[in-house]
């Protein structure tokens, strides 16, 4: 039977989602297997060494180069805690008439007093450790603990993959600001009440609206399209190879369809609309290369039973052999970008397209009953999970 394969972005209203949360260096895991966690639960913590401050004490105390041993002048010894402004070393000369003091420039612990030749006359203070935490990102259940590193969190919820994004992990209540997936998300409809929220737009957002969202304190935006010029101007630089997610731009942006004015897929829009007011956990990280990472929107759902979802998910696994006659696809290259339709014919032979390319094609019956012929590579499988 004729069939083909195409890419498809994942989207579903009840899925099992797992996230590994891991410290960069060994530390303390603060959760146990089976614990219920919220998106902001601290999963693991690490005390990273504080910053190192070096004081050239010999210069301050005006000891001669050949008398660089500091020990006689030290008021504090290695291991002692010192407060900022505290005197740590003192040298009195001329029978006590001249008093040179070395003051701690920061609070911390004396880690080293150097009498080595090449580090002579230095006192080193280590500032207090800085705690680094890893949070759970999604609310759910701890299903596994990675000793000293972190945990794996599982949740049941809705899941939408975007096509491209910028910015990292963010959270917020979903707020759909437009009436339809065709509408443009403009600056004037972003009010102060949008602070901390994840805004949903329709077909496009522009640079002005992005700046407005940052000013208001919006946490994230999900929208169908954006013009390249707007995102380049907003970021202040041009993206080369698509490896994103570390931008510090004040919010996370997820584009579901592509560049330009792109009507958001109706099902995506309806899904977001259905969960308006609920918490969304989003991540704009995108890496388009082998081992692709696409941006994601996760909406944890407490109303679902994980064991039921797992069973359903197994039964409705993605077909592994691609597109067959009758399946739903979406055209992803103009003309007809975004149009949905049913595959009605998969001819075997190469066919000549409008630009004279000889390629393999599909015939698709669109929602408006038009039949169009499209290169097989220019459609996406609609992967909907119940």
């Amino acid at each position: 039977m004729a069939l083909t394969y195409t890419l498809g972005l994942k989207r579903g209203e009840s899925l099992i989602i797992r996230k590994t949360r891991r410290l960069p260096l060994p530390g303390e895991v603060l959760v146990n297997k089976g614990d219920k966690v919220s998106y902001n639960t601290e999963v693991a913590r690490l005390n990273t060494p504080g910053k190192f401050k070096i004081i050239q004490a010999s210069d301050i105390l005006e000891t001669k180069p050949d008398f660089t041993h500091l020990e006689p002048y030290m008021l504090k010894k290695v291991g002692d805690h010192v407060e900022k402004g505290e005197i740590i070393a003192q040298r009195k000369t001329l029978f006590g008439l001249l008093n040179k003091v070395c003051i701690a420039p920061t609070s911390g612990t004396i880690e080293h007093v150097s009498d080595l030749f090449y580090l002579a006359g230095q006192v080193m203070i280590r500032e207090p450790p800085i705690p680094r935490s890893v949070y759970s990102y999604i609310s759910g259940t701890v299903v596994d603990v990675i000793p000293k590193e972190g945990a794996i969190i599982e949740t049941c919820g809705a899941y939408i993959q975007g096509i491209f994004g910028v910015g990292g992990e963010q959270h917020g209540e979903i707020n759909v600001l437009v009436d339809s997936p065709d509408d443009v998300l403009t600056a004037d409809i972003i009010g102060n009440d949008c602070r901390g929220k994840i805004l949903v737009g329709g077909s496009k957002i522009d640079e002005e609206a992005l700046h407005r969202a940052v000013d208001v304190g919006v946490n994230g935006i999900v929208v169908g399209g954006i013009k390249d010029k707007d995102i380049t101007d907003f970021l202040g630089y041009e993206i080369g190879v698509a490896i994103t997610g570390q931008e510090e731009i004040g919010l996370t942006l997820i584009v579901t369809e592509g560049f330009g004015m792109m009507r958001m897929a109706n099902k995506t829009f309806q899904l977001l609309k259905r969960f308006e007011g609920k918490l969304a956990c989003i991540n704009g990280t995108t890496q388009i290369r082998a081992g692709v990472i696409r941006p994601e929107i996760i909406i944890p759902r407490e109303d679902l039973n994980p064991s039921v979802v797992k069973k359903t998910e197994k039964e409705s696994e993605v077909p592994t052999e691609g597109i067959r006659l009758g399946v739903l696809v979406r055209i992803v290259v103009p003309p007809n970008f975004g149009a949905l339709g049913k595959v009605t014919r998969i001819p075997i032979e190469l066919q000549k397209t409008e630009i004279e390319s000889e390629v393999r094609v599909l015939e698709v019956e669109l929602e408006d009953e038009r039949r169009v012929t499209v290169p097989r590579t220019n459609v996406e499988l609609i992967e909907d999970f119940s």
Partner: protein, 629 residues
């Protein structure tokens, strides 16, 4: 014409001893590209091996499949549908053959599914060894996604977090001068060990590290990193503070990329089990065939494989074979890197459309985010072809940077004092386009260009060919396939290359030089052609024009070329010289003889309307595209 194929290095399991070469009648070869998986089916017909059918499908490196064998199955399934020959079983490819219509006698494959190269570089001091390391990686065609140095201002945890997030494909580890203290080098090694970044291509993959630091620290580095990473030791890039030695590390990066990054992808382990022959990186397959062709024709040749993630250039010049892989110039995944590096203006200059810059940007970005899609409209096609010209130009520039004349006894720019090495970067390559006989192209965009005049023009414009250059292209993109096939069964590869793969496009006669003030229309040379039937055709080359004279594939005409003052043509050979006129045999092909008087560099009007008009005129002269207005 007989082609002697050459052996090349390849990676994989090396079980080819099991193959009975005498009884091979049915052959399947695949190439798992970054964007498209291509299956080519060959069989013995009478006394000769011929190409029978092709199947193509998007490469499946992305969810939900994340397994390249799935894309290959889809490509092979297309071959099954077209031929009625059963090839697939649940375990892979059916082999040995069972009867006339089931299975194959030989299945081999190439791969470049791993795509581009993004590197992390390290050094002890940010503006000394780390800077040299960064320059080395950029020179090798990589994108540097992060620079780690002891004095980079970051804490250890920050470095590790970043490393894990970015998932580098390879690490260039430099630091310290030879024989110096190596405490900091050890410190970096410890960070890399703790970092343990998960590779984007899965757990079976061992992340390559090229160590080009203090020589005396090698044993310690090996002790710390040897078990976790695939370590390659090369000469120090800064053996002394004032000396920089980039070439060994740069070459090692290219080799490691080709052998360990490019060919790997999710599902690679499965694919290895499908074939008894080691999987060959695509550029090795392509390079094998270009080299063989140049050797047989005793010619200077430049070849290009224009892929989705990378552009591979091969030169066989005065017998010397050099291959470069520009790891981030490609027509799908890397198309926006072409945009970034070349700039929009340079791409726009090849597009004869009334289209805004914003629209072009969006079209290029949409190709990047959906890399497996293909153009459906003339706008999209012309924009991709514009980007292709720039990819070729920049990749050739990179190739020239590693084909420089020898300095003393050092090949390329071996060990040089810092100031000298920076001057050396500016020196020209030993490749002189006036002395190149053949230019050949393969890759999806070139092989699948709707008209042959399109691929001819892309090659001419991208490289800016000069003098008399014969052009050819791969018919349906099977050069990598034939390259890997030739490593096992030369006879069939050679026969198929000559009969079914090689498409001669014709010969380009291009005058080198430019006229000031765009004096379009002024005569810059004369070409007198003696056609195979004896007819004489004299063409005056008017500046700013291009034209074609039909000459069929297999036919040869004699061209007498006389450039006007200020324009160059060259008598070719080992000791080439500029001459006032020359006579050359010119080969025909699908396009014919192209007389290119557009100047070198090609003189494109700067004013938008004039530029569009000129492009339209050139495209029309070659009947390259359907009318755009």
């Amino acid at each position: 014409m007989k082609i002697q194929t050459m052996d090349d290095k390849s990676s994989g399991n090396g079980q080819d001893s099991k193959i009975d070469l005498q009884s091979i009648d049915v052959i399947l070869v695949t190439d798992c590209g970054s964007t498209t998986s291509k299956a080519r089916f060959f069989r013995r017909v009478g006394n000769e091996y011929r190409f029978i059918a092709a199947g193509e499908a998007p490469t499946t490196v992305e969810a939900p499949f994340e397994d390249v064998t799935q894309g290959l199955r889809n490509a092979v399934r297309e071959v099954e549908e077209l031929t009625g020959h059963k090839l697939l079983s649940s375990d892979g490819i059916i082999s040995p053959r069972e009867g006339d219509n089931e299975g194959v006698d030989l299945y081999v494959t190439t791969s470049s599914a791993g795509g581009g190269l993004q590197m992390l570089v390290t050094g002890v001091v940010r503006n000394i060894t780390a800077e040299s390391a960064e320059r080395t990686a950029l020179g090798a065609g990589a994108i540097v996604i992060d620079v780690l140095a002891i004095n980079d201002g970051h804490e250890t945890w920050e470095r590790i977090e970043k490393m894990r997030f970015l998932r580098p494909d390879m690490i260039l580890f430099s630091g310290g001068t030879d024989g110096g203290n190596f405490d900091h080098v050890v410190q970096i090694a410890e960070i890399l060990r703790s970092g343990d970044p998960k590779h984007r291509l899965g757990n079976m993959y061992s992340l390559p590290i090229v160590y080009a630091g203090n020589r005396v620290a090698r044993a310690k580095v090996d002790e710390i990193l040897g078990t976790k990473y695939s370590l390659k030791f090369v000469d120090n890039i800064r053996p002394e503070p004032q000396i920089e030695n980039l070439a060994p590390a740069r070459n090692a990066i290219q080799e490691q990329f080709m052998e360990h990054v490019m060919s790997h992808a999710p599902g690679y382990d499965k694919l290895m089990k499908w074939t008894p022959v080691p999987i060959m990186p695509t550029p090795m397959g392509e390079g094998t065939m270009f080299k063989a062709f140049a050797e047989v024709n005793k010619a200077n040749l430049i070849g290009v494989g224009l892929g989705g993630a990378t552009t591979n250039i091969y030169s066989i010049y005065n017998g010397k074979f050099v291959r470069s892989v520009s790891a981030n110039y490609g027509m799908s995944y890397s198309i926006c890197n072409i945009l970034k590096e070349a700039g929009l203006k340079r791409i726009m200059r090849w597009i004869p459309l009334q289209i805004s810059e914003d629209e072009v940007l969006d079209i290029l970005r949409n190709k990047m985010i959906r890399p497996t899609t293909i153009p459906q409209t003339l706008d999209q096609l012309l924009i991709e072809h514009g980007a292709a010209r720039e990819a070729l130009r920049m990749a050739f520039q990179q190739h020239k940077s590693i084909t420089k004349p020898l300095v003393g006894d050092l090949e390329n720019f071996g060990t040089l004092r810092l100031d000298d090495s920076r001057d050396y970067e500016k020196k020209e390559s030993y490749i002189d386009l006036l002395n190149v006989d053949w230019l050949g192209g393969t890759g999806g965009l070139i092989s699948h260009a709707p008209r042959k005049a399109q691929s001819a023009l892309i090659l001419i414009d991208g490289f800016g060919v000069e003098g008399v250059t014969s052009l050819f292209q791969d018919s349906v993109f099977m050069m990598p396939h034939l390259g890997v096939l030739s490593s096992v069964h030369r006879e069939s590869a050679v026969e198929i290359f000559e009969k079914d793969c090689l498409v001669r496009l014709g010969t380009c006669i291009a005058f080198k030089g430019q006229l000031k003030d765009h004096e379009y229309g002024r005569r810059i040379g004369t070409v007198t052609l003696t056609m195979p039937d004896g007819e004489k055709i004299t063409e005056e080359a008017a500046y700013g024009t291009i034209k074609k004279i039909p000459l069929k594939e297999g036919e040869i005409a004699i061209a007498e070329i006389k450039p006007e003052q200020g324009f160059q043509i060259m008598e070719k050979g080992l000791l080439p010289k500029l001459v006032a006129s020359r006579t050359a045999n010119v080969h025909g092909g699908a396009v014919g003889i192209i007389i290119d008087a557009r100047g070198r560099p090609i003189d494109i009007p700067e004013d938008d309307d004039s530029r569009r008009e000129k492009l339209e005129e050139w495209f029309t002269a070659l009947d390259a595209y359907p009318k755009t207005s």
